[in-house]
């Protein structure tokens, strides 16, 4: 097999150890957490912004698509090279450039793993607040592209609330610096517009992030229920009582049995649902909040409310939650995870609806919710080898999504649109809305060569909801 001219040019630019082109090498980059696969022509591993500029300029000259990729943990297909071309892997741009504790700032390259930033500033009492479940693997560049969330975004906001500035390489190779080391630099908030743009506006090569201070005290509660609907009722009651926990997560019995079998985190095998609730702040605040929350759980018929007695117990509970997708992967050949959002007062109704959909289509559905902010992750179990099951999952997922929209919600809370939901966009956005998005995209990416076929619908949709089914990520 001989490298093609494009590969030869890339090799000249970056050196042979930074370009992958053989079928068996690029195969590893043809997928992410979504099932759709598409092999890139070449994968490049730049070490500097200048490398990225060179790659992008070459691609522009050749009219070849460019797709940025962090760790490939995305769940909506954001890093899959749908139209081939060059995948830029950021594995070598993983330097923490600067840490400025007094200003609570960090400057990082996009390939820095989310958890590594938190670990780097941990002994100075700080952390990086966005905490997607994949945080041990996913990169901050990927978090920026997808505007990633996580359990603790309930109190602290998603990625966009923690990003001050970006260095961005535009598709013509121009480098721009958006935002600043402080908030509100005069001008349009291009930083806020680029965060969550799923790699379709520019290639982010440096990120100025805000750090947060670790709270003095943390309490983690586990509320255990015999009736699954009592869990979302508790969530609604906590919100209605004006308490904002740092995290408020729900897992149903089906899910937590799978988690318990895999991780022995101490979740009760016989319960119908649990809430994992965390409160943070001053010792006194945390005690008060924990007492109030415990009382609300009891009022809503919790069988038992446990408090983590040590950091180890807390970590174990969170390990169970954060690895729940993986645990479900043990019991089903495939699963499809959704990411809809609804008003949190409607969680009980939604949970009932998901149960009905499961019965109607004869599917096992596990429910893991970032319940506090109404972000649902129903997991639909199936076997992709079984055509009939796959069809049923598609229909069931479509019904759940339609229900989210009907309730005034959103298609995606944190996983992004990508390939997966691009053709569902007309469910929540009008032709005028989408036209404006298209025009603004063209400001940055006029020829559409950056991450093509993502985020915006490819066809006019005519009523039927078709979701792209994932065969299960490796979270």
């Amino acid at each position: 097999m001989k490298p093609r001219p494009l590969v030869r040019e890339l090799t000249r630019l970056l050196g042979p150890d930074a370009v992958l082109w053989r079928t068996e090498d690029v195969m590893l980059y043809e997928y992410d957490g979504l099932s759709v696969t598409a092999p890139p022509e070449a994968v490049v591993l730049p070490s500097t912004t200048e490398h990225v500029v060179g790659i992008v300029k070459l691609a522009a000259r050749e009219g070849v698509p460019v797709v940025a990729r962090g760790a490939g943990t995305g769940l909506s297909g954001g890093s899959v090279a749908m139209e081939g071309g060059i995948v830029i892997g950021f594995a070598r741009m993983k330097r923490i450039i600067e840490i400025d504790i007094e200003n609570l700032r960090a400057r990082v390259q996009p390939g820095v793993v989310n958890m590594d930033l938190t670990l780097a500033v941990g002994d100075q009492g700080c952390y990086f607040a966005p905490d997607p479940s994949s945080q041990k693997a996913c990169t901050i560049g990927g978090n920026v592209a997808e505007n990633a969330g996580g359990p603790h975004t309930l109190a602290y906001g998603v990625t966009t609330n923690h990003i001050l500035g970006l260095e961005v390489v535009l598709p013509d190779g121009e480098i721009i610096h958006t935002g600043a080391r402080f908030w509100d630099r005069p001008g349009y908030d291009l930083t806020g517009f680029v965060v969550g743009s799923e790699g379709t506006l520019g290639i982010v090569t440096e990120i100025t992030a805000r750090l947060s201070r670790k709270p003095e005290a943390v309490k983690t509660l586990l509320a255990i229920y015999d009736d699954v609907l009592d869990a979302p009722r508790t969530v609604a009651a906590i919100t209605a009582r004006r308490i904002t926990p740092a995290a408020l997560e729900m897992m149903d019995g089906f899910t937590l049995r799978a988690v318990e079998a895999a991780f022995h985190a101490g979740f009760p095998m016989d319960s119908a649902a649990v809430l994992l609730i965390e409160v943070e702040g001053l010792r006194e605040t945390v005690e008060d909040d924990a007492d109030q929350i415990e009382a609300i759980c009891q009022e809503n018929h919790a069988r038992e409310v446990r408090r983590a007695k040590s950091a180890e117990e807390r970590d174990l509970l969170w390990r169970g939650r954060k690895n729940a997708f993986g645990a479900l992967g043990r019991i089903s050949p495939n699963y499809y995870v959704q990411d809809g959002v609804i008003p949190r007062t409607r969680l009980p109704e939604m949970l009932g609806f998901i149960g009905q959909v499961g019965q109607k289509y004869q599917l096992r559905i596990g429910n893991i919710f970032h319940a506090g902010d109404g972000n649902l992750h129903p997991l639909l179990m199936f076997d992709a080898r079984d055509k009939d099951q796959t069809v049923r999952v598609t229909k069931a997922a479509g019904e759940i999504m339609a229900k989210c929209v009907e309730m005034g919600g959103s298609l995606t809370g944190e996983h992004g649109v990508g390939i997966e939901k691009r053709d569902l966009m007309p469910l929540i956005f009008s032709a005028d809305d989408l036209e404006m998005m298209q025009k603004l995209k063209a400001v940055f990416n006029p020829r559409g060569t950056l991450n093509p076929a993502k985020l915006l619908p490819t066809t006019k949709m005519c009523g039927e909801i078709r979701v792209q089914i994932s065969t299960g990520g490796v979270l």
């Binding site: 080391r181 005069p186 008003p343 949190r344």
Partner: protein
């Protein structure tokens, strides 16, 4: 009256009705910007009205400035053209309110004070203390991303807006975001509008995330002797487990001015840190104890204030723009933005620069946020003020920040850019502007780079 003006009025009357188009000189000059008064004020009653007015204005080649009470109209470069004031006064409905979801959707003309009162009944609030205070409109707050010292704990409108609808000069209504608290579907168009100062489109509806009102609040004051003691205290407080809602450093002139006319009026000789803590009585006791310890270590006394007295002072600090020009008509208000750790250093340099010019400078630093307001109080001749503004901008820039001229006489604005120099992303910003507003209908010349 010339024909062009007649045509314009006739067109607007056809859209919103005769009672919603006003051309009396008094009404027009009340909404004048930097010495320019509009030809007429149009009061749309709905999003459909706004789109029709914008489309019509664009077709006629007119310049429109959206506004409500005009609390922030002084900020920005002088308009290149100004024909129509689009007052959103009549658009103040609540479209959707779900207290238990902590979400609300409102029109832009609602006054911030009315809104806080409305959601306050369910124990909620939008935790902002913007310039303009209760008189500011929600639309204006969002369009300018207006914040005060509360930003320290709660963030900015940027962090609280869930979605919006925007009327475009093309005559369309574009939706951005949604009504739920977490949403990454599509481009985050709302971010472009937040802080765009009415230059891209007109916000006709905004959905906000609301917050529970704190159980109790208390204000503490620490006279700090010198700015270096102030810096030391700021570090200790922000590095302690305490989480103040807001924290400001006032130089003596600023403190004295703010306290004048309140029950707390007194002469002030040294910089003071004011901070507000929140929580249950038990939490507030703990805060008191901790602050006492920190103050003692720094050799600063600590004073605890009754909440009603303190509230007035906080309003004064966050809304300088409302009362200061009344007391000091020629006042120039500058806002510096910079990495927070350099706040005291910039304040110190600014005081020095002012002293060199024999000018009186009141300095308000929002600690932990990196925002400083400098108010130049003495009535100096324009060239001297210009020189001082330029030197203060130089000082802010040398510390890694920027300086915005928020309020000054328009003959100064002609000679110093209100926003400072744009960066290497300005070409993209200009294209963003052209995408929304190809004919320069909205607030032409007012924003960054006189775009």
């Amino acid at each position: 009256m010339n024909t062009a003006v007649e045509t314009m009025q006739r067109e607007f009357v056809a859209i919103v009705g005769a009672s919603h188009v006003v051309s009396e000189p008094a009404a027009c000059s009340a909404l004048s910007v930097d010495g320019k008064a509009p030809q007429c004020v149009v009061y749309p009653a709905s999003a459909a009205d706004v789109t029709a007015v914008l489309r019509c204005a664009a077709e006629l080649g007119l310049a429109v400035i959206p506004c409500r009470n005009g609390t922030k109209l002084g900020t920005g470069n002088p308009p290149r053209r100004y024909d129509v004031a689009l007052s959103l006064k009549d658009m103040n409905r609540v479209w959707h309110y779900e207290p238990d979801d902590l979400t609300v959707t409102v029109e832009p003309g609602m006054k911030f004070g009315d809104f806080q009162h409305f959601v306050g009944r369910q124990g909620l609030w939008l935790p902002l203390d913007p310039p303009g205070g209760a008189r500011a409109s929600l639309g204006g707050i969002v369009a300018t991303n207006a914040t005060g010292p509360l930003r320290l704990y709660y963030g900015a409108p940027r962090d609280m807006v869930l979605g919006m609808k925007i009327a475009t000069v093309e005559g369309k209504v574009v939706k951005a975001g949604g009504r739920v608290v977490k949403n990454v579907a599509g481009y985050d168009i709302a971010k472009l509008l937040i802080g765009s100062y009415g230059t891209l489109g007109v916000i006709v509806e905004t959905s906000f995330k609301l917050f529970p009102l704190p159980a109790g609040r208390e204000t503490f004051v620490m006279p700090t002797g010198t700015l270096s003691i102030a810096r030391d205290l700021r570090r200790r407080i922000l590095h302690s487990p305490l989480t103040p809602l807001r924290m400001v450093l006032l130089n003596p002139s600023a403190a004295e001015l703010t306290l004048a006319g309140t029950p707390l009026e007194r002469p002030v000789k040294e910089p003071e840190i004011w901070l507000e803590m929140a929580g249950s009585p038990r939490v507030l006791e703990r805060c008191h104890g901790e602050l006492e310890g920190l103050a003692k270590a720094a050799g600063a006394p600590l004073q605890r204030l009754a909440s009603a007295d303190a509230e007035n002072v906080w309003t004064g600090i966050s809304d300088l723009q409302s009362w200061l020009p009344g007391r000091s008509p020629g006042v120039v208000i500058l806002r510096a933005l910079l990495p927070d750790a350099a706040s005291e250093e910039l304040l110190s340099r600014a005081e020095q620069e002012a002293e060199n010019d024999k000018a009186l400078l009141a300095g308000f630093a929002q600690l932990g946020v990196g925002v400083l307001h400098f108010c130049l109080l003495s009535e100096a001749a324009t060239p001297a003020v210009l020189g001082l503004i330029r030197r203060l901008r130089g000082a802010a820039e040398s510390l890694g920040g920027v300086l915005i001229v928020e309020r000054c006489h328009w003959d100064i604005k002609d000679r110093v850019d209100a926003w400072g120099s744009p960066g290497d992303d300005f070409a993209v910003m200009k294209k963003v502007k052209e995408t929304w507003d190809p004919k320069g209908t909205l607030s032409p010349g007012r924003f960054l780079g006189r775009a």
